[in-house]
Structures are given as structure tokens and as C-alpha cells.
């Protein structure tokens, strides 16, 4: 028993089984996948199709209210691609998402390891705190955060004043860079709980015997981390990193609410708020659809290397 249990570590990341194929089981995967497929096609088929089609049309408020939409081919895309403002926003969004995603995963990993190394009580306290942060409605957390950085009576300025820094009336949102740093802090704060809890869940799957064995062998904590633990949770880490990249590129609510509180909106746009401004704001749904498609392509491009290596791993 024990011998089989210690063998897995080398093979765990590549879990391809080679069971004897019995006739009935050839169809099993199809049945397992069917519910997902049916669900996704039913719920997303039309909306996504509509969006693709609309991106090639001139579709504004008039069309929403009954006028037939006009086919304009690639005109929306052309306007977008030649708009320097879009590329500024793209650049900003990419930088933002990379900084946030990397910070989130690093901090999340740290906290997950911390959770593993403390007493049960400590772990529970930390988990509950993270969960509270995660569960807090975005409206409430954004309100609290905007209070914290408020230039007039914000907690941050008040605390800084207390320790002697002259921060009275300092406006954290008026400069675009400062604004984005605040936004990054908020987004990371909101995203870490999920990452930490997921990585921790992955850590608990590790066999203590392996870790014991490593300890007996005299591997120091740091080495143990790098050579044994990390490779084992690498699948979970790589997934959450990819997802953070995708989500942070799409971030919308936090930026929008922060823009409402301060800063010059047109200097702090990221792709999410930009699409919103085009769509709901200006009623230019054709253009908004085009931007969404562009964003999809962009996300694919950024994660291409990643996606490809994941796909390779699959075979």
C-alpha cells in the first residue's frame, strides 16, 4: 500500500490512465461531456453569435428600436484599430492585468503556504478573514475603499498624518498612475482570497508521506518548497494564474466605481469600462461588440503561449 502511495508524485501531473477499454466505456466520456455542451450552447450560443454578427454591423439605438441594422463589414474594426486611444487603453489594460495577476498569485501562494504551516485555529482565522473579503459585495467594498482613499476625510490620509507624513487633502485618484495603483491594490485585495484558498486546497491533496520523506532526507524548508511542493501544486497554480490574467484583463466594476468617485475617466479607462462606455453609455452596440471580439483575440494572444503548453500537456 505504502509503496504505491509514494510512487505517484512523479506521475501525478500527467494523469493519463491506460485502462483496458471495455466497450461500454467508450461512450462514457460523451455522456459526461454532454450536459456541459448542451448548457453552454443553449445559454451562450445565441448571445455570442449575436455579438459576432453585430460587430460587423452598424448597430446603435435606432437599430435597437426597430430599424434594420446595416452591414458594414470590417468598418467597426477598422475604426477601432486606427484609433490611437484604443491602443493606449489596450497597453494600459495589459500592464494592469499582468501586475495584478502576478501579485495576486504570489501573495496567494504565500498565504496558502502560511495556512499550511500554522495551527488549526490560525488557519481558520485566516481563511475566514479571506472569505469575508471575498464575500463582501463589490458595492460595499468599493465604497469602503473609496472612503479610505478619499482626499478629504479618507482613512489613508488620516493615518499618514498621524505618523507625521503631510498628506492632508492628498488626492490619490486625480493622477492616472496613482489611480491605477489604487485600483490594482483593490483588485489584488479582492482576488487573493480565491487564489489562496484554491492553492491551499491543492496543497491539502499532497501526501504528507512525501513531505515527511523529504524532511527525513534533510531537505531544508526552502528547498522543499521549490523542489517538491511547488511542482506538485504547479497545475493548480498555473490554472489560477491563467484565470487571473483573463479576469484582470476584463476587470470592470471596480474601475467603474472608482472612476465615479474620482479621477478623470478618460485618462483611466481600461478595456472593461471602455466597452461599457461604448455600449450602455453611447448605445453604439456594433462598436462595443467589435471591441469585445478584439478583447477576446487579445486575451488569446496574451495567453497563447500558456494555452499552447497546456494543450500540449493534454496530449
Amino acid at each position: 500500500m505504502t509503496s504505491t502511495a509514494t510512487a505517484p508524485p512523479e506521475t501525478a501531473p500527467a494523469p493519463e490512465p491506460t485502462p483496458p477499454a471495455r466497450p461500454a466505456r467508450r461512450h462514457t466520456p460523451a455522456w459526461l461531456v454532454l450536459p456541459s455542451l448542451v448548457l453552454l450552447v443553449a445559454a451562450l450560443g445565441y448571445p455570442v453569435g449575436w455579438q459576432v454578427v453585430t460587430s460587423f454591423q452598424h448597430f446603435g439605438m435606432m437599430q435597437q428600436f426597430g430599424q434594420p441594422p446595416e452591414w458594414v463589414g470590417l468598418s467597426n474594426y477598422a475604426t477601432l484599430v486606427t484609433d490611437p486611444e484604443l491602443w493606449v487603453i489596450v497597453g494600459r489594460s495589459i500592464a494592469f492585468c499582468i501586475v495584478c495577476a502576478l501579485s495576486t498569485v504570489a501573495i496567494g501562494l504565500g498565504l496558502a503556504l502560511l495556512m499550511g504551516a500554522v495551527t488549526r485555529a490560525g488557519r481558520l482565522v485566516l481563511q475566514v478573514a479571506l472569505l469575508l473579503a471575498w464575500a463582501m459585495p463589490v458595492v460595499a467594498s468599493m465604497t469602503v475603499w473609496t472612503w479610505i482613499v478619499n482626499w478629504r476625510n479618507g482613512l489613508l490620509n488620516w493615518a499618514l498624518e498621524r505618523v507625521g507624513v503631510d498628506a492632508q487633502g492628498h488626492n490619490w485618484l486625480v493622477e492616472p498612475l496613482s489611480f491605477l495603483v489604487v485600483a490594482a491594490v483593490i483588485v489584488v485585495w479582492m482576488s487573493v482570497p480565491f487564489v489562496a484558498l484554491s492553492i491551499y486546497a491543492g496543497l491539502t491533496q499532497l501526501s504528507p508521506e512525501v513531505l515527511e520523506a523529504a524532511e527525513i532526507d534533510g531537505a531544508g524548508g526552502w528547498k522543499r518548497l521549490r523542489h517538491i511542493i511547488l511542482p506538485l501544486v504547479a497545475p493548480v497554480i498555473s490554472i489560477v494564474l491563467l484565470l487571473q490574467l483573463i479576469w484582470d484583463l476584463r476587470v470592470f466594476t471596480q474601475i467603474k466605481l472608482l472612476q465615479d468617485a474620482g479621477g478623470v475617466a478618460n485618462e483611466t479607462h481600461l478595456l472593461g469600462t471602455f466597452i461599457y462606455q461604448l455600449g450602455t453609455g453611447a448605445g453604439d452596440f456594433g462598436m462595443a461588440s467589435a471591441v469585445s471580439i478584439v478583447m477576446l483575440l487579445l486575451t488569446v494572444a496574451i495567453s497563447w503561449y500558456y494555452v499552447r503548453s497546456l494543450m500540449k500537456e493534454e496530449s
Binding site: M62, G66, N266
Partner: protein, 452 residues
Amino acid sequence: MKKTLGLAVATTTAALVLTACGGGATGSTTDPSAGASGNADKSITLWLAGTDTPKELRTYLQDTFKAKTGATLKIEEQSWGDLVTKLTTSLPDPKNTPDVTEIGNTQSPTFTNVGAFSDVSDMYQELGGSKLLQSFVDVGSVDGKQYALPYYFGSRYMFARKDVWQEAGVAAPKTLDEFNAAVKTITTKNPRSIKNFSGFFLGGQDWRNGVSWIFANGGELAKQENGQWVSTLADPNTVKGLTQLQDLYKNASKAPADAKDQTPWLYVNDADEILDESGNVTGKTSLAAATIMAPGWAHWSIGDLVEKDGKKVREWNDKKFSAFVLPGNDGKPAPVFAGGSNIAISKASQNQALSKELLKIIFSADYQKKLGGAGLGPANTDYVSSLGDDQFAKALIDSATSSKLTPAAPGWATVESKMIMEEFFSKIRDASDLTALAQEYDAKITPLLNLK
């Protein structure tokens, strides 16, 4: 645009004709004001935005509607920020559209121009005609036909710290020029030595308050030329206003460059009992301005901090605070942005006749007076006296007489959603050539003003 309107008019006329002939699935076949029998199982839906219309008024509408038509009135409250999204998806859908809806006056031109609303020109005289607030009627009209009519109006005026003004030795202004000079003096004198004290707090991006200086000098944001709307920021009168604004931004207001028009009353109130350890009042007081401009309802949030029934509230204090209308240079109040909303019938509604009955009730004398009683300016100017006669009601009425709305251009809502005016205003203070800046923004705004 003409083509759509033609289509819209034709469709509406056809619908009306069909209804009148008593055929088809649209509307009721019985006389809607017949009362009980025919309409007992019918109901229409009214969308109201936010909590502005108080409960008593809503109940009144429901009761009166039932008594008059026998049908039921359902009122659904939508939140302001999401109203446009919901109207965009629901109005075109005959199965789920609200029958009658409130709509902000900024959004009225857009929705009116895309044909979202029914033509109510035939009822216009009956509902009040020229007694209705004309600026509100304009944003809901196209080619002389009315679609969205005024529902209620608000207004904005100035709130000031009387005591600080006196300390600075400045008298109450009677003209706009006097106002400008007065607030600059207060800022320079800073009688209470408060850090970053503003004689007049005007946020760097606060165009909704700042636009009064443009209007007061005869300028406009946009106007219609040959059927097309153009942005007029660079017109000489507008630039005159912009110059005054620049002066104010440099010398009278220490507001942050990114402040908009939210919660300005915070700056004019005293702080509550804040003391640091030694009991000194440091520079960190709430009081940061001698004057602010705010919508009329802000007076509820201005005053001394007192405790009533265990709750902290603000109580107005006539010795410390004053409310006055921004004076123009021509002896009349300076034009300010009116607040308020319009009301309209959805074109896709299946209950056109009943919806019109609801409009009749809303524009009846009784309801209009109730609106005034609730602090909401009634659409029919005959009834403004129902607002009361305290200083706030007076200020509301006076400032509303020359108030203006955002341009009735169909694309104005787009300009607002792109925050172009905010951006423009944030650059006024440091611009070396205001006319050039204005021209730059005219070029950005004009293409957006007309629906394509």
C-alpha cells in the same frame, strides 16, 4: 432621422386608428374612462425612477387610476443609474415594455428621437400646453410633435456661509460680476485661516454647475443649424463664460481638479465635535468653502449638527447659512441646469388608451399640486405655488424660471456618457488659449450630437 420619424408617426397613427376602430390586439375596445366593467382585468405598468415620487403620491395615482378606469396600475421602481439600460432592453419589447415611464431629461432626446415613445401631441393642449415647462417639452419633442412631457423639475442654487462672508467683509452679490469678485475676495482674505479654503467650491470637472457661467453670458453648449446640431463651445459668448470660469478656478476655488458635483454640502458644513488630544481645532475641519452650488434638496443636508431623537441630523441655521439664487448680470437669475425628469408612453405598449388616461391623471391639478407639496417642481407652471413659500421654495422657483436643460440633441446622452464635458472642464484652469481648447472640444462633440 426624418425617415424614422415618418415611420414612427405612421405607425403611431395606424395604431391609434386601429384602436379607435375598436379592432386588433392593441389597447382596449371599451372606452377607457368608462370605469369598472371593461377594464377590470387589465393592468398597466408605470416605471418610476428612484424614490423621488413619495409613497403617498404613488398610492394616489393607483387609487385614482382604478376609480377612473377600473384597471389596475402597477408601479415599479427602477434605480436611476440603471434606468437607461433597462429602458434600452425593455422598451422595444411589446411583451415586457413598461406602458408609461419616467425618464431623465438628459436621456429624453435620445429615446424620443429613436421612436421609443408614442406621439402625444393630440393630448398636449389638454395636459397643459404652453403652461408646461417649455425647456422640458423641447427635449421630448421632434419636429414640433410632443412625445415625452415634463414630469417634475428641480433646480440648483447657492448655499453660503453667511458668517464667513461677513467676516471677509463682503456683501451679498446682486450681479454675477459681483459674485465672482466676492468669492475671490473671500478666498484671498481667508478669514479663518483654513488650509485650501475656497470662496466658492467648484470641482475641476463640475460642468453641471459651472455651465451657469456660460449660460449667464449668453453662451450655449450646442445649437441647431439647418437641422443639424453643432457644438458651440468656441462661440464668443461661451468663451466669455469660460474666461470667468478660469478666473474662478484660479482664484476662488481650491477644489480638486477631478471633483465633480457630488455631495458639495460637505464643504460648507462645520465639522462635528472633532478635537485632537489637546482640544485644538486644527486645519482639518469639514469647513472648506464659503459657498457652494447644489440642487435644491441639498438644504436637508446643510446646517448645524444636532442630535434629535438620538439621531444626528443637520439643522439649518439662518445666522450661519444663507441660500440665494445665482444672480445674472441682467437683473434676472443666472440660468442654471434644471434637474428633473420627463414622462412618456412607450410606443410598444399594448395599452395606449389606458396609458393616456394615466397621463391625464398625472397632469391633473390635484396631482400637480401634490408634486409641489412634496418638494418636486410641478410640470405645470400654474401650480408652482404649491411648492411653498419658505426661502428654499422661493429659491427653487426663482432659479427655475430661467433654468435650462442639456441640449435637446439626440446624441447628447452619448457626449455625457463619454465624459467629454468633464474632461473639457478639467482643462479650463490651466489652458493658455481658451478659444483653441474650446475648438478642440467642439470638434470632438459635434460628430456625436446627431444620431446616425
